[in-house]
């Protein structure tokens, strides 16, 4: 790969912030309370290196405080790294703080000029773009009114229009598309795709993984100041979400220790107890254990149980509920006309769910072992939780497969 194909080069970058416990910026305070101005040094980035090719779009993901926004700020050169180097080629535009430098008393048009000047455009260049900017913002009829008369949505639209029409070589974006109404968001999104197609290098920080999957060629997962994984967004997002939900569950678990007892007490679990569910796990189609799945994927649920007393005529069942408690699906071996089961020794039952079309969100799964006509042996409410993710924007509980037939 040729050297000049690299648009952004980040090498071993570290950054720490001083967190002052009690800071005095004045001479008197500095002298009198010298001991007081102690600070803690918090290391936010611990050595990050990555390259971005020209025309590539990458997404930075990670939980809050992991250092992804700091990375973006270093890329914009608002801040500088403590160690390491960052090289950027070409003009950089950022959609980080939209409308920085807007003056409320000046008209929309004047603000376009000042704001674009902050991005390093000359008057001539702005003259050439002003029409595009105004058109894109859909504010033509208000453009000569002072910005203070704008609604916040109009304000953001104007700011976004300026930033995106700078024709930057590198575009840095923090939490995009929280701009304006749904229509305008779609428009922004399409514009971004267009810009990308023109060969602009894009770096996005976002929690909206779906957006990252749609635009980015690569995702970088930053965890506690280090790059934990990078690769195709679909894989990295899944890995990341899986990690997050696991962590969440660990946290929940440690919060409610001595589970076995309290489950019955809280009414989450009941039954005669001759057979008990020991552990529930879920696997993806490739056999890897995970808790996060993509809409439309296969999920294999395995249930380990222990037998205290053999049971005849047993029935296994499961139910899936969304976070509002609405049942999305439920069935059992009797409904499914499975042969009668006799449980005599501990083992594992498996449920193979094909093409699970549940939409993005978290789902609780109830697992039940019953006898005969519904006498509970071990009914375990919310025994397990899975998370579904989807890059598409469709809404509801479950996807309905469909095609469109439209007149051209």
């Amino acid at each position: 790969m040729a050297e000049n194909d690299i648009a952004i080069e980040v090498r071993n970058v570290t950054k720490s912030f001083k967190v002052y416990l009690d800071k005095g910026a004045q001479l008197k305070e500095r002298l009198l309370f010298r001991k007081r101005s102690r600070y803690e040094e918090r290391k936010v980035l611990r050595g990050i290196s990555f390259d971005v090719k020209r025309g590539e779009a990458i997404g930075l993901i990670g939980h809050n405080g992991c250092g992804k926004s700091t990375t973006l700020k270093l890329l914009t050169r608002i801040m500088y790294p403590d160690e390491g180097t960052i090289k950027l080629k070409g003009r950089v535009s950022s959609l980080i703080e939209l409308g920085a430098g807007f003056h409320p008393d000046m008209s929309g048009r004047e603000n376009i000029y000042t704001n674009a000047a902050i991005f390093g455009l000359t008057k001539k260049e702005i003259d050439a773009r002003i029409k595009d900017i105004v058109d894109f913002s859909e504010l033509a009829e208000f453009i000569d009114n002072p910005v203070r008369t704008y609604s916040s949505g109009m304000y953001m639209r104007l700011a976004f229009s300026v930033a995106i029409n700078v024709d930057a070589d590198v575009l840095l974006i923090d939490e995009i598309l929280a701009v304006g109404d749904a229509n305008f968001q779609t428009k922004c999104f399409n514009k971004l795709k267009e810009i990308k197609a023109q060969g602009t290098t894009i770096v996005i920080v976002s929690h909206a993984l779906g957006q990252i999957e749609q635009i980015c060629d690569r995702a970088i997962w930053i965890h506690e100041g280090l790059i934990k994984a990078e690769g195709p967004p679909k894989e990295i997002d899944l890995e990341y979400l899986d990690y997050m939900s696991r962590k969440m569950q660990e946290k929940n678990k440690s919060e409610s220790d001595a589970e076995e007892v309290s489950e019955e007490e809280t009414g989450k679990r009941w039954g005669s107890g001759e057979v008990r569910i020991k552990k529930v796990r879920s696997f993806a189609a490739d056999g890897s254990e995970q808790k996060t799945f993509r809409t439309g994927e296969d999920i294999r649920l395995s249930i380990d149980y222990i037998v205290k007393k053999p049971v005849k005529d047993a029935v296994f069942g499961f139910g899936v509920f969304d976070m509002n408690g609405i049942q999305c699906y439920g069935t059992n071996t009797r409904i499914d006309k499975q042969p009668d089961i006799t449980i005599s020794e501990s083992g594992t039952a498996e449920i193979l769910m094909k093409n699970v079309e549940l939409l993005a969100g978290e789902y609780n799964i109830d697992i039940a072992i019953e006898q005969g006509e519904g006498i509970p042996i071990d009914y375990f409410r919310q025994a397990y939780r899975i998370q579904m993710i989807s890059a598409m924007g469709d809404v509801g509980v479950s996807r309905i497969e469909h095609t469109w037939k439209l007149k051209r």
């Binding site: 001479l27 801040m79 950022s94 980080i96 000047a117 902050i118 390093g120 000359t122 008057k123």
Partner: protein, 258 residues
């Protein structure tokens, strides 16, 4: 070198900041832009009364003698005192967006400079109305003197604005320094009355030469002493380079400190 190139690319931002500053400064006040002239005029009146009527001196046309020095001085002192707070006052921009930070002191000093140029219209009006007379050849050197002063003021403003970010007291300290500096520069008095043993000290001060040059051109109607001007230019360039160096070092942590 790359800094200069980048600043050139951001010239539109400098223009628009200067414009915003000039337009916004007196916004909402009844007399508006007239304050640009009223302020120095009142200072002129007060100083003239004090130094020619009360503390009497034998300088003819003292008001003009003072006026041609006071206006350039006001440019210099406002560049450093108010310029010191320039980065802090633009902290929203500095924290949120990238641009070469030097744009801020540059545009601030430039707007003070434009103010001075406007006041020079008044100076020339006074010269003409009072019939003091002009040496046109000497006036041709005026832009050079102004540029030298601009360079020096910019260098100082860069240091002042960058250090103030870390050490807020400086803004107030500079108010005192500027007052002392004015009295240690021959603005209200003549360099001739400075005792000989203090002269080397006075000569180290670039403002001594700069103010002297203005006075030579506009009051004495002569071409200024080139060595003095060169000395001032040398010091000015030195301070500009030094100021830019200090500024570049300090600006790396602006966003965190603000």
């Amino acid at each position: 070198m790359s800094t200069i190139k980048e600043l050139y690319a951001y010239r539109q931002m400098i223009f628009s900041l200067v414009k915003k500053d000039l337009r916004g400064r007196y916004k909402g006040s009844v007399l508006g832009f007239l304050w640009t002239f009223i302020n120095p005029l009142f200072q002129l009146i007060v100083y003239t009364i004090v130094f020619s009527k009360i503390l009497r001196n034998d300088i003819p046309r003292y008001y003009l003698y003072l006026f041609v020095a006071l206006i350039p001085w006001i440019f210099f002192s406002s560049s450093i005192t108010v310029g010191a707070a320039s980065i802090i006052s633009q902290k929203d921009l500095v924290k949120k967006i990238y641009f070469p930070r030097m744009v801020i002191p540059i545009s601030y000093v430039t707007s003070c400079f434009v103010n001075m140029l406007l006041c020079f219209i008044v100076i020339f009006a006074v010269i003409i109305v009072t019939g003091a007379g002009i040496n046109f050849v000497a006036v041709l050197t005026l832009p050079v003197i102004m540029i030298v002063e601009y360079i020096f003021a910019l260098g100082m403003a860069m240091i002042a604005s960058a250090v103030t970010v870390y050490f807020r007291d400086l803004e107030h300290i500079l108010g005192i320094v500027a007052m002392a500096w004015m009295y240690l520069t021959p603005v209200v008095y003549s360099k001739k009355i400075v005792p000989d043993r203090y002269l080397p000290l006075f000569n180290l001060n670039p403002m001594t030469h700069i103010i002297d040059c203005y006075r030579t051109v506009l009051y004495e109607k002569q071409v200024p002493d080139l060595t003095a001007l060169l000395w001032a230019a040398g010091l000015g360039v030195f301070f500009l380079v030094f100021g830019a160096f200090v500024f570049n070092k300090l600006q790396r942590h602006f966003a965190e400190e603000l």
